[in-house]
């Protein structure tokens, strides 16, 4: 898990204003290729907005975003996705009526033109069967593959979220609170999973669970009120005075 020299994702003076309120304020962020980079900060610090900016779900007010030196500022999410950035969602965000298998099939198909083939049978999707099974097995969902996800338990849905990101096989993965709402055991399993899939990839991670951040992150950026408060390794950040007052203190009280 050594961080390379290239920068995978870079923002320059990235700013997003909502009716006069600066949710993200001149953020300069550089995520090095192959690293696991965590974004932390108290509620309302702008983590999710930053995520939405990075993935094109929100257009910035000013500033630029580059992915492997390619400018993606202001591009729609599907195009950003096609540049090799895949994300998971903080609030479970799935297609309620489809099964896990169908989810993964969809994810695998996302980068092909197959989706436009309205004259072909959906059996076409079956040709990735081995890979789908493999992906589902990785997150432990294979036995439930043909159940509509509306019937899955919360933790299972989170796992499926991860498998979807994985299916895309992206150079850059953005994970928005992958362990939110999980029980202790699931958290540890997820940490293992993320660690495994992070090999050879760049991961940007948001999580409130310091245990998760501590065990995964190579670098940590602390946000507060839309600005970067501190950046460094987990230990550096944890010992930073400002961070302790602003965030960790709060977290420990909680």
């Amino acid at each position: 898990m050594t961080a390379g020299e290239r920068v995978a994702v870079r923002t320059r003076a990235l700013t997003k204003e909502f009716r006069g309120f600066r949710a993200v304020d001149s953020v300069d962020l550089a995520v090095r290729e192959g690293s696991v980079h965590a974004l932390v900060g108290p509620n309302g610090a702008g983590k999710t907005t930053l995520f939405n900016l990075l993935t094109g779900f929100v257009a910035p007010t000013s500033g630029t975003i580059t992915v492997f030196d390619q400018d993606v500022t202001g591009r729609p999410p599907e195009q950003v996705a096609r540049c090799g950035v895949a994300r998971s969602f903080q609030i479970t965000s799935l297609f309620e009526t489809l099964t896990s298998r169908e989810h993964v099939e969809l994810a695998l198909q996302g980068h092909t033109r197959d989706g436009f083939r309205f004259w072909r049978s959906e059996k076409l999707l079956g040709r990735n069967r081995a890979r789908v099974d493999d992906l589902l097995a990785q997150v432990g969902l294979l036995p439930l593959a043909d159940k509509p996800v509306g019937l899955l338990a919360y933790g299972q849905k989170r796992a499926l979220e991860l498998s979807l990101v994985l299916a895309v096989d992206p150079p850059v993965m953005l994970l928005d609170e992958p362990t939110a709402g999980m029980g202790i055991e699931d958290v540890d399993r997820t940490i293992e999973l993320v660690r495994r899939i992070a090999v050879g990839r760049t991961v940007v991670l948001v999580d409130h669970n310091m245990h998760v951040v501590g065990s995964l992150a190579d670098r940590v950026t602390v946000l507060q009120q839309g600005r970067i408060l501190a950046e460094g390794t987990y230990d550096e950040v944890r010992n930073d005075e400002r961070v302790i007052t602003a965030y960790l203190g709060e977290a420990e009280h909680a």
């Binding site: 969602f89 799935l94 309620e96 989706g115 309205f118 959906e122 509509p148 019937l151």
Partner: protein, 344 residues
């Protein structure tokens, strides 16, 4: 307030397995449906039977958008009506065989749907409904003004039923039914194919969660426009057959009330089911037909009340409710079996 479109139907369907329906049941249904389609004009006055199947295809085409993409088009009369006019004009002026004329109408509907779809999908949800409605009104007014071509409020009269050189006379509506049925069935098969294709899968994903579909790299707008155009094409097939069946085209076909009627049929039958559209069309046409000669005044009173009741109480629609019950029973049985297995 949820902002996604038609979240309710899918969400309730989620409590039963959606893909688990028995393939044998599917074949039985298909056979029953086919027999019913073939037998229909023996029991129903043939032109009315033709109306039923044409409107059934119309409802199914709408369902591709409403039930499978989560877009309520309240302006589909534009495609139904414009295809009817184009079909009628081509049959009248060029003496083309009716299948050719109908096909031309459908193609025209698709061409018309492209810019309308492109503009409309910029808005989603309820906005989409309003924008499509406004577009359809525009088409309606143009047809009204252009009376040199469309015959204005007199309608386009005297559309012939030419069938490769043979003139199918009006009284032989019975034969016409069987001559035109293949077009309708083809359209229905097309709808089924679209829904059960990789493309259809993406549509359902967009319906359930368009943001997530975007994150997976799907160009949601593009998919919506294609679905819109395909739906318009199938609608056009139905509208063309309808025009030939009646031997004329009236402005009513373009009127917003026609758009409303087909939404009613789809919702009544059950959105997102395809079969529901057929059932909805059958019930609605038969009801209107019955009321027309019953001496009851005020058909809209019945239609409107049915609509209100369905939306309030049976949002799954007739077909949807039956299917839901059936699937729920299957699920219960399966669970019981499962429980028995563990006991052993």
């Amino acid at each position: 307030m949820t902002q996604s479109v038609v979240t309710e139907a899918p969400a309730t369907e989620a409590d039963v397995p959606s893909t688990g329906s028995d393939p044998r049941v599917r074949w039985v249904l298909l056979a029953v449906g086919l027999v019913a389609a073939l037998a229909l004009p023996w029991f129903v006055y043939p032109p009315v039977a033709m109306d039923i199947v044409a409107l059934a295809l119309f409802a199914i085409a709408l369902d591709i958008l409403l039930g499978f993409t989560g877009l309520l088009s309240f302006g589909h009369a534009a495609f139904w009506g414009s295809s009817a006019y184009v079909t009628g004009l081509i049959a009248t002026h060029y003496g083309a065989p009716f299948p050719v004329a109908v096909l031309a109408g459908a193609v025209f509907a698709m061409i018309l749907a492209l810019p309308i779809g492109y503009l409309s999908v910029r808005r989603s949800g309820i906005y989409f409904a309003m924008v499509t409605l406004a577009f359809a009104q525009m088409v309606y007014f143009i047809a009204y003004q252009w009376s040199g071509l469309t015959g204005g409020e007199n309608g386009l009269q005297g559309v012939p039923r030419t069938f490769f050189g043979i003139d199918l006379v009006e009284t032989e509506s019975f034969y016409f039914y069987y001559a035109a049925l293949p077009i309708i069935l083809l359209g229905m098969w097309g709808a089924w194919r679209i829904v059960h294709s990789p493309f259809g899968r993406v549509l359902m994903a967009i319906r359930d969660n368009s943001q997530r579909a975007r994150a997976l790299g799907y160009e949601v707008e593009k998919y919506k426009v294609i679905a819109f155009v395909l739906s318009a094409g199938l609608t056009g097939l139905a509208g063309g057959v309808f025009a030939i069946n009646h031997g004329f085209v009236a402005l009513t076909e373009l009127h917003w009330s026609t758009s409303g009627e087909v939404v009613l049929m789809t919702v009544l039958g059950g959105i997102g089911t395809l079969w529901g559209g057929i059932l909805g069309a059958f019930l609605t046409v038969m009801l209107a037909d019955y009321l027309a000669s019953s001496g009851f005044q005020g058909i809209d009173l019945v239609t409107g009340s049915v609509f209100v009741l369905v939306v309030l109480l049976f949002r799954r629609g007739v077909w949807g409710t039956v299917r839901h019950r059936y699937l729920a029973r299957r699920l219960r049985r399966a669970t019981r079996r499962g429980a028995a297995d563990t006991r052993e």
